[in-house]
């Protein structure tokens, strides 16, 4: 099964991609998926190593690391948001 990943801000820059589709045995907890992603490249490892610096969303809703990811989900990983003024 596949999951669509989106990366933003410095996570995107370090991973070197804005978007990718990965194979995963779903359902998988978000935190476990994060661990799997770290094995993809040195950039992934650097960007995703410290989850205290990261936030995530599943299908455009904020999600904690224990939340299950299902096949076909859109998962976004990014730094804490800094919009506004």
């Amino acid at each position: 099964m596949t999951v669509r990943l989106l990366y933003f801000a410095w996570v995107r820059e370090q991973v070197g991609l804005g978007e990718e589709v990965v194979d995963a045995e779903t359902p998988v907890p978000l935190g476990a998926l994060l661990g799997q992603l770290q094995t993809l490249s040195p950039g992934h490892k650097q960007a995703l190593a410290d989850r205290t610096r990261l936030r995530a969303a599943i299908n455009q809703n904020f999600a904690g690391w224990d939340t299950p990811v299902n096949a076909g989900d859109e998962v976004a990983i990014f730094p804490p948001v800094t919009g506004g003024n």
């Binding site: 455009q60 990014f78 506004g84 003024n85």
Partner: protein, 141 residues
């Protein structure tokens, strides 16, 4: 009229304000907040689908807390020069207290929930603890 917009181009406060002013005779108060780029130019990245969704949810939450007659939330993205407007919040209600409170709430929650990220000449801007605190003061209401 309840509306959210995410756009690259400039917004016009006067025309947006006029739209809320025209909602109806029971509107007695309109509050506007404009946030602008401070100190140095910025690049604002965002997650389009989630930004609109989160902003819609913010409006729904504000409506559940205060008897608003209308509200508008606009957030810009892309490259913005110093002094350029970034965000516009407009709230309309019968009396001023609800409009003031809802506008403050919308900005505080927007800062911690809408997926936008700022980059300046020094790199990606870090999230501030004070923004989390400002947002959390609305949690138990």
């Amino acid at each position: 009229m309840f509306e959210v917009r995410v756009q690259r181009h400039m917004f016009d406060l006067a025309s947006e304000h006029a739209r809320l002013a025209a909602i109806g005779p029971d509107v007695g108060a309109i509050v506007s907040f404009t946030g602008q780029v401070r100190d140095e130019p910025l690049e604002l990245e965002h997650y389009p689908a989630m930004a609109e969704r989160q902003m819609e949810e913010l409006l729904a939450e504000a409506r559940s807390r205060w008897p608003l007659k209308g509200a508008l939330l606009i957030h810009r993205h892309g490259r913005l020069e110093t002094g350029a407007p970034i965000v516009l919040v407009l709230t309309a209600s019968s009396h001023r207290a609800e409009a003031f409170q809802a506008a403050a709430f919308l900005m505080d929650w927007l800062k911690t929930r809408a997926p936008f990220w700022k980059k300046d000449a020094n790199g990606w801007v870090s999230a501030r603890e004070s923004d989390e605190q400002a947002a959390s003061k609305w949690e138990d209401r």
